[in-house]
Symmetry: D2
Subunit: 330 residues, 4 copies
Amino acid sequence: MTDSPFRGVIPPVVIPLTEKRQLDLEALERSINRMIDAGVDGLFFLGSSGEVAFLTDAQRYHVLQEAIAMVHGRVPVLTGIIDMETMRVVDQAKRATGYGVDALVATAPFYALGGPKEVERHFRAIREHTDLPLFAYDLPACVHTKLDPTMLVRLGEDGVLQGVKDSSGDDVSFRWLCLQNEDAGHPLQVLTGHEVVVDGAYLGGADGSVPGLANIDPASYVEQWRAAQAGDWERVREIQNHLARLMYVTREVKATVGFGAGVGAFKTALWQMGVFNTNQMREPVCALEGEDVEQIVAVLKRAGLMDADAPIRQAHWDACPVSPGAPACK
Amino acid sequence: MTDSPFRGVIPPVVIPLTEKRQLDLEALERSINRMIDAGVDGLFFLGSSGEVAFLTDAQRYHVLQEAIAMVHGRVPVLTGIIDMETMRVVDQAKRATGYGVDALVATAPFYALGGPKEVERHFRAIREHTDLPLFAYDLPACVHTKLDPTMLVRLGEDGVLQGVKDSSGDDVSFRWLCLQNEDAGHPLQVLTGHEVVVDGAYLGGADGSVPGLANIDPASYVEQWRAAQAGDWERVREIQNHLARLMYVTREVKATVGFGAGVGAFKTALWQMGVFNTNQMREPVCALEGEDVEQIVAVLKRAGLMDADAPIRQAHWDACPVSPGAPACK
Amino acid sequence: MTDSPFRGVIPPVVIPLTEKRQLDLEALERSINRMIDAGVDGLFFLGSSGEVAFLTDAQRYHVLQEAIAMVHGRVPVLTGIIDMETMRVVDQAKRATGYGVDALVATAPFYALGGPKEVERHFRAIREHTDLPLFAYDLPACVHTKLDPTMLVRLGEDGVLQGVKDSSGDDVSFRWLCLQNEDAGHPLQVLTGHEVVVDGAYLGGADGSVPGLANIDPASYVEQWRAAQAGDWERVREIQNHLARLMYVTREVKATVGFGAGVGAFKTALWQMGVFNTNQMREPVCALEGEDVEQIVAVLKRAGLMDADAPIRQAHWDACPVSPGAPACK
Amino acid sequence: MTDSPFRGVIPPVVIPLTEKRQLDLEALERSINRMIDAGVDGLFFLGSSGEVAFLTDAQRYHVLQEAIAMVHGRVPVLTGIIDMETMRVVDQAKRATGYGVDALVATAPFYALGGPKEVERHFRAIREHTDLPLFAYDLPACVHTKLDPTMLVRLGEDGVLQGVKDSSGDDVSFRWLCLQNEDAGHPLQVLTGHEVVVDGAYLGGADGSVPGLANIDPASYVEQWRAAQAGDWERVREIQNHLARLMYVTREVKATVGFGAGVGAFKTALWQMGVFNTNQMREPVCALEGEDVEQIVAVLKRAGLMDADAPIRQAHWDACPVSPGAPACK
């Protein structure tokens, strides 16, 4: 273990919208405070769950500016600098740096096809253009490239990377990353983004987690991290079982797949729990409705996050708006 | 056949760089003029071959502004508005519109995961925000979503799309797209991006092609299109065989894969033929060197695009620069 | 062009079953005769469309023995020797040889993972164990390995392979295969399995086709091949457009995906046309029913393969049987 | 926890060959005895590591017959019944049953494409034809289908399946499988095949493991299982770290990929440790040589499984034989 400030539970912050699908600052502050009050160790903005792909640059830095003011230094702030290839990412890095973030998080290049040589040069080039701590974000589901643990540790030893947020879902690679990092003197802070099996990641040596589900239940993730630090693995496992069942919110969705089902379920849960004011989504994604909402509420009640007799909140907005004159979307 | 201005041979323009990896305006003008003089029917900027993923927004619109001035209305100009999700694409559309382009080209959303519902809403939303002709760019290799022909024709009938640039490599889907489009009264201009088998696409009913290889040999693609219009299929096939062999430039590359091998080979060929001044590539991609260059020259000579006794041009630049102080890239 | 007996239209034979899902010899003979009478140049048994994956070895060689007797030397017979790895394929080769087939068709190894070295050794080892002409079957959808054209031509030059049945759907690779084969003196007979775009394959130099759809409309494929031989490309294209639309039978299926939709649609069409007595499928696939059947009939009528006022034949069997005592299949 | 006999450490048995690539019964018996003496709870034959894809049926049942005689009832024996589609698998099941195995292990159907409906019917149909305990083998790397946990538990509740061997590498799905299985009253024995992260699987509720690496170090896996039963998670983790590093034997291989690298490394390690007499592989795979062998020995020495000064054993056989008259394999 190191004394890095980037350890423990660092949720990727889900962004609330108003009925009109504008940024809902009031709900955002409530959600940020709820997580900080629960004891999280940092917050990650402009990640995949934070709608980074859906926001124009103007919207991205609006979110970041407001969020940093709300956090007000209580915990470290990491931010995604997500874009296609190196110099676009560097552009994002420069812009984000001006807002006072504590660390940057970049994926492998995407859209244009390349190989491992280009991936390694990409991270080295980003490092050349910024001084902030840099995390590699291993997210093959979105960028279609898996980061090699040996390369990551080499980049750690060379001072290019300060950490890794591993959302790859490849637990073998993750274990090897932890071991190789340890053997190299722990140059990297290794965080798992795999919220359903954080217990295994902690047992395997992770320095922390970046669980989207912590937006819904931050207290459990915080308690779990502390139990892991204390070596109380039965408790760690027990909490994980609770959280793994809570993650069923994303499994029950019938209306769509991918982001609209995953983050859509998170937003719906936060809305039903009263943290968010709506479950609205960014264009082109529709908000969840009807039976999907009911199933999510049922999961929340079974998990004890809503009272058994709490009513389902009803939407007073258009879950799937089309612009005036547009053909109706089938 | 329609009287749309978007038909025939519309090359995606490859961008030349100087030794220092800056935009080489002199070579760009030479290449643009060479293609227009050969008789191409349009030019496509800021596509995948046009480095769109590698350019910052400032660089993108610098390229576009200069290119449009160079073309000077001689042929229609299409431009890519490539970004992750809907509102980022709309941002690009608005910006591109200001530069006086004739049509916009957008892919399916990428990075965030979605399903067919989101893809259709995406194109409908872009249409709401712009008045220019809009082409869907079917490019699953980069965006990891295949566009469904039935959806494309529906979007054509609804006035959302004016055409499709199909680089999917799925010739069955392409044929069905052509047939369904015909049955619907030809609302879409259907262009193939599949430069090695344009003859089959023309036979199948394509309205034109967007062949990256036409940067190297525009005259052959123009002659092929005219032969197809005249129904001289033996000549169409004969030219295609020449072009398919010319495409071996991309097959011989050993140093890397993907964009660096494909567009890297195109740039190397254009450099060796004297159209470009270098074969430099954007960060993080390295320029081709040594044996890769020799193999490309050999293909060009066999294809009659270089004299058999022409010497190989030598590079006087760093093919793979690293910034000062950066660890050497292995 | 060579004087190989393996050229022209060589349909992969779809296998009819009785109501009880037993081999229907009467319908098989009718279908075989119908194709031979239409003028096909060969028949391919025990391919993917021929249920090879679903048949026990006893069933495979029962089909083959009966089929060879029915063909009775009128056209050459190719047979699939489909199994996981080399020595299992060799076992199939030895057994098939005893039945008097004219050529063998083998895929790349599957199930166990390997690389190109193993693929090449696989074909070389099969050659060591048999004297019959050997075709490589390029079918990445099923075996998850794409065969490299350069390797295929090398194996042709070395006398290992006599041909390729390319069902890869990669038309660029197919074109390069044709060109490289030509440059090497045409050691391989190159057949396309891509029934929707046979015209492009013929234009690109294919020696023939192996179209599953020819079970339904063999006459059109035969006429198309003859038109291609005569250089009448407008007619080739026209017939292809008819066939591409006929292939919609496989696109309308809602009940399932993959083999059950594709070969299921072929069987349903043959049943409705009176060639087959049922549309039954092998365990675990269910026969198509209801609306799926109606849609297929509509396609057949539009294509002129059924009279516009012909009634839909009704099933008198269980499309999806379960064994006694088995829980009902949802 | 149940009182099922199928729990704890159940290695998939790797098969030794002689120099001439014949089954090496002497080495097989030594390896089996070594594992049983180390305390393993069962043995799994004819799995992927057990060369099932490479063996003719005659070879499969030769291996099985000999193995069962060697085990002689000391531990339960599971056997793979691996084949393409349902009735071929049933054929294997019937044959295996005659040899006196204790349980059968079947994958999803492969080669022919299908959907979830066919997968479920497949397992139900196998159950109809056999009385032995049946395990589903979740192995998407080989069969290209992921088994859904909800379906698996349903098949468990319906008495179709008695267990699951999960080699899917999807630890989220695995956790949900454990939880849903628990909530259903534990109808399934859930075993992980993921040897590098068995500790996380045990923490998550696995009933045991099927680690290929246990052929090399069975004692550590046995000790780890016992520590997990005793709740000593620090010890479980410590052993896992040792085993995860031992698995580097498969990471160092340069000569090939897939089975030849993975099982090839296991055989090479067993040969160098004196358990096997050679590291020979089945056609078309070559045995590892040279530097690959040296790297594997280095890993074994670092892991304490070979003495630091033990010499490297040298091969006296052809690692990559070709049949007489065959062109040399490049």
